[in-house]
């Protein structure tokens, strides 16, 4: 697994989420577009706010938080 050389700007966050069937609830958490009551979770089981969201990877571990702890786990898996 590697980091893509294509990144996205902060302003593109909502657009990218929208493209992948996600939206934002009134408290700022990322939710399933089809079911606003279902908040998406990180691999660690944490709900995630829009401003905390770092990006996507393949599979069920799709949602990555932008904090050092989530990114350490990601960095360990990179080639």
């Amino acid at each position: 697994m590697k980091l893509s050389k294509i990144t996205f700007s902060e302003s593109a966050r909502e657009d990218i989420l929208n493209l992948y069937g996600k939206s934002i609830d009134e408290e700022g958490f990322i939710v399933e577009k089809e079911n606003f009551s279902q908040r998406v979770l990180t691999p660690q089981g944490e709900e995630i706010r829009l401003e905390e969201w770092a990006g996507i990877r393949k599979g069920s571990e799709a949602f990555i938080k932008n904090d050092i702890f989530s990114l350490i786990e990601l960095a360990k898996k990179l080639d």
């Binding site: 697994m1 590697k2 980091l3 893509s4 050389k5 294509i6 990144t7 996205f8 700007s9 902060e10 302003s11 593109a12 966050r13 657009d15 990218i16 929208n18 493209l19 992948y20 969201w53 770092a54 990006g55 996507i56 990877r57 393949k58 990555i64 932008n66 904090d67 050092i68 702890f69 990114l71 350490i72 990601l74 960095a75 360990k76 990179l78």
Partner: protein, 235 residues
């Protein structure tokens, strides 16, 4: 829509793309990257942050240190230690670590900042290791060790570490300085902590300076072999 940041990075900005264009970008760029090539697609800042973390992952010495503490610290303290070691590596290389430190403090508000500082200053390489090695020679309970470590870390702003790397005058001045500051702003107690016979002796001499002080009560906790001391000055 696509900005070239440097020769190695392209950044997507969809603010001016139509809905149709966004869908095409997903089908033709994002999905192939994520699904087939198994690339991780991140916000620009997060990508840089991840690269910084990757460059500073624990080396062999760090791994050895982490292995030592793996079964000795509570899981969240261990996680904070691992993150702090990475931060230390980045700091030594001159990287900006503000955001990394903020992450640690936010996740662990009670102890994150202090643990991070103590890691950078090498206390987990020396002091807390020695504490464990000294404690294990006597009637040992890992929970007591954990409590001692936690107490020291959470009380860092009002702790004086008695070490042989400081002169007696430096230590004495530090006690005076912290006492005065704590009397004005603090919680009414100052901890002195020393490991090793020499430091225990030094601590006792420091405490002698306050024996006659009517406004200060001294509590001493010394192990049987007199190699570990935690003293509290209560005022």
């Amino acid at each position: 829509m696509i900005e070239v940041k440097d020769e190695n990075r392209l950044t997507l900005d969809l603010s001016k793309a139509s809905e149709e264009e966004k869908k095409k970008i997903k089908e033709n760029i994002l999905d192939p990257l994520i699904q087939r090539q198994e690339e991780v697609f991140l916000i620009d800042d997060s990508s840089q942050k991840t690269q910084k973390i990757k460059q500073n992952l624990p080396d062999d010495n760090d791994e050895s240190l982490l292995k030592f503490y793996k079964d000795k610290l509570k899981p969240e303290w261990y996680k904070a230690l691992e993150a702090s070691i990475i931060l230390r590596n980045a700091f030594k290389k001159g990287h900006d670590v503000t955001e990394l430190k903020r992450d640690i403090s936010r996740r662990y508000p009670l102890f994150g900042n202090n643990l991070c500082n103590l890691t950078t200053e090498g206390y987990f390489d020396t002091h807390f290791k020695q504490l464990y090695n000294d404690m294990i020679e006597e009637d040992f309970d890992i929970l007591v060790y954990q409590k001692k470590v936690e107490r020291i870390i959470t009380s860092l702003p009002y702790t004086v570490f008695v070490t042989r790397f400081k002169t007696y005058d430096q230590l004495s001045s530090e006690v005076v300085f912290k006492l005065e500051r704590l009397k004005r702003y603090g919680t009414g107690r100052l901890l002195l902590h020393g490991i090793g016979r020499e430091n225990v002796s030094t601590t006792l001499v420091l405490l002698d300076e306050y024996e006659a002080e009517k406004t200060i009560t001294i509590q001493k906790d010394i192990n049987l072999k007199e190699t570990i001391i935690t003293a509290t000055l209560i005022f």
